[in-house]
């Protein structure tokens, strides 16, 4: 990472790799898959020359295991994949979640289920990012809509992972990841970097899963001389398996609390001309780009349209969506799926009189500004 600002013309996937390196990522494990392979290839070249570690594993299950192990040994670790690989990672994502291991998983979404449309964009993995691994667990899920987002949100993803001791999922899509755009990379001292808190107490006092007010216990790394037990079984504050209902409940509640208590810090979104808007489009990922264009054209036509662009999908920015709903007459939610975020929106605003209109494409094609504009005009 350079100290000075840099203007570049690069692809989304390259910006993700550069963002990860800027955030201090020093470990990558992955398995190649379109449209995420460029991230894996760049990391294989860049990490060794920075003293970091790259390993190509035998599959995505192994990749997720390796980045979790590396993080436990003190590394800042990353993997990158697309739908089929993301499915394989789910069990170990749950493990990292309940053992509270910071790491970042990039899923460059393709179209469709199963092998689907490997070279088309899609947004079908939103709910899988939230609920893909079994059991109740909190999740942080971010979504990129530009090359510049790819860089800055990757850094945010690492910061959230470290600050809240949790896996963070960054959703990109084929369009964002393969688009080349101008990007101004900030200088090194302009970037905020967070690192996990380490224990400072004597060994005998260390409680690895302590139920603190903040909810995020200090994390010792292997070799640090704090010897403790880590298990995916539901555990007590010392890390040992427990079935005691009181301890189980306290543990699950803390897992959720550590995210929900800090949700304002995690929820990233941007408002474009929503202040006086009658019609607000709520969008994320590459669709947010089309939406921005659409509301600009609508404004020129004299229609009061605005955009709420979501960069954090989970924890879902409920109050901001409620805020939009209280201002507008209609909300339009365009998505390249059958309506995964629109369901969250409807849940959030169930007591608002506002009308919610879905706009969905499931054919592997982008939603164009024109299509969104048509919906805006219809509403008017």
């Amino acid at each position: 990472m350079d100290h000075k600002r840099q203007t570049l013309f690069i692809q989304g996937n390259e910006a993700i790799a550069r963002g990860a390196l800027a955030a201090g990522c020093n470990f990558f494990a992955g398995y190649p898959i379109t449209p995420a392979s460029e991230i894996t290839e760049i990391m294989s070249r860049e990490l060794p020359r920075r003293g970091g570690s790259f390993i190509q594993m035998e599959d995505e299950i192994a990749s997720m295991g390796a980045i979790t192990g590396a993080s436990l040994a003190g590394a800042k670790s990353l993997t990158a994949t697309s739908g089929p690989g993301f499915s394989l990672m789910q069990e170990n994502i749950g493990f990292a979640s309940v053992t509270e291991v910071p790491c970042v998983i990039v899923n460059v979404m393709r179209g469709g289920a199963s092998t689907g449309l490997p070279t088309n964009p899609g947004q079908g993995d939103v709910m899988q990012a939230r609920w893909g691994t079994h059991g109740d667990h909190p999740a942080i899920v971010l979504s990129t809509s530009s090359v510049s987002d790819c860089f800055s949100l990757t850094i945010k993803a690492f910061n959230f992972a470290e600050r809240f001791r949790t896996p963070v999922i960054l959703l990109s899509d084929e369009m964002v990841s393969h688009t080349r755009e101008k990007i101004i990379l900030p200088g090194k001292d302009e970037i905020e970097i967070l690192n996990r808190e380490k224990p400072s107490v004597p060994h005998e006092w260390y409680i690895p899963y302590e139920d603190t007010e903040d909810g995020v216990p200090a994390m010792a790394e292997f070799g640090d001389s704090y010897k403790y037990h880590i298990t995916g079984l539901t555990h007590d504050i010392n890390g040992f398996p427990t079935r005691n209902p009181k301890e189980v409940e306290a543990f699950v509640k803390r897992l959720f609390r550590k995210i929900s208590n800090h949700k304002e810090q995690i929820q990233i979104y941007e408002n474009f001309e929503t202040e006086d808007a009658d019609i607000i489009v709520i969008a994320y990922g590459s669709v947010a780009r089309s939406a921005l264009r659409a509301i600009k054209i609508a404004r020129k036509m004299g229609i009061k349209a605005g955009l709420l662009k979501l960069s954090t999908l989970f924890p879902f920015p409920k109050s901001e969506v409620q805020n939009a709903a209280s201002k507008a007459i209609k909300l339009i939610i365009p998505e390249m799926n059958t309506g995964q975020i629109s369901r969250e929106v409807k849940k959030a605003i169930s007591d608002c009189p506002v009308e919610v209109v879905k706009l969905n494409r499931i054919d592997g094609s982008l939603i164009t500004p024109k299509e969104i504009l048509k919906y805006i005009e219809e509403v008017d």
Partner: protein
């Protein structure tokens, strides 16, 4: 060191006993061998990481006073790979059952061996899925009865030591629970050997395997281990006929191959000299 002192020194004081295993289970014998090996190697336990998957055997690390990680079923080697590669100064030892290592985790096992990352894998082979109630595993003998092969197993078993040897392991040793002292020796050899080392321990699950196959007690099953195991040095002088129904124990493979972490250090130096972009 007397056993009581070993136990106080290497096992956790804050972990509630009794352990989870059935009385007579071979897993405890492996735990004993492991702490004797630690003591002989005079290890700094702060630098030891014990990693396991899921199964009766994978409950072993929780009792040991070091860094312990109980992962997902079959995936222990993937976590261990990340730990070792991120911090090569750690001694990483992986404990797995036969189902854990060769069914759900079989792919990771052959790739860890092929990649030759400096780990020691102790595979506790009881020829059955113990924890889930005695279903057949990839090492259940042909014809044997299990909870899912009431009419006799029609699949053919893996020979784990041969499997990892052809996959590229630099060290392979095999013992039985009966030959407890040999386990100590093999663990020390495997740990001290750079690269991927495997110690297979043939053991008994009298509860789930023995009772379905006419050997319902640990003692009967250990007697069979005694009868069937032949030291490799002795086996070399025996005819194929004499070896029928027997298996070899001792140091089976011991060879030198470049290992992943030291090769990667070389890659870091090479990468520094390349200045594209």
């Amino acid at each position: 060191m007397p056993y009581t002192e070993l136990i106080h020194k290497y096992l956790r004081h804050n972990k509630k006993f009794p352990h989870v295993w059935c009385p007579g289970c071979g897993n405890g014998i492996v735990l004993g061998a492991l702490i004797r090996a630690f003591d002989k190697m005079n290890f700094d336990m702060e630098k030891v990481v014990l990693v396991s998957g899921i199964g009766c055997s994978s409950r072993l690390p929780v009792y040991v006073d070091c860094n312990t990680l109980h992962t997902t079923h079959g995936r222990a080697l993937t976590f261990a790979t990340g730990i070792k590669f991120a911090k090569p100064e750690l001694n990483v030892i992986v404990i797995m059952g036969d189902g854990d290592a060769t069914a759900i985790g079989g792919n990771h096992l052959i790739h860890a061996a092929r990649r030759n990352i400096d780990l020691t894998a102790i595979i506790i082979n009881n020829n059955i899925y113990g924890m889930t109630g005695g279903q057949y595993s990839p090492t259940t003998p042909f014809g044997a009865k299990a909870a899912t092969s009431a009419y006799g197993n029609i699949e053919h078993p893996f020979n784990i030591s041969e499997l990892v040897a052809v996959a590229g392991a630099t060290y392979v040793g095999r013992s039985t629970a009966f030959h407890a002292k040999l386990i100590d020796k093999l663990i020390i050899q495997a740990v001290e050997k750079p690269g991927f080392g495997v110690v297979e321990v043939i053991t008994h699950c009298h509860t789930q395997y023995g009772r379905r196959n006419n050997t319902p007690t640990a003692v009967e099953m250990m007697k069979l281990q005694q009868e069937k195991a032949v030291l490799i040095e002795k086996a070399k002088k025996m005819s194929p006929d004499e070896l029928k129904g027997k298996f070899t124990i001792g140091t089976l493979v011991d060879r030198n191959l470049p290992n992943y972490c030291s090769e990667y250090s070389r890659i870091r130096r090479v990468a520094l000299t390349k200045t594209d972009k």
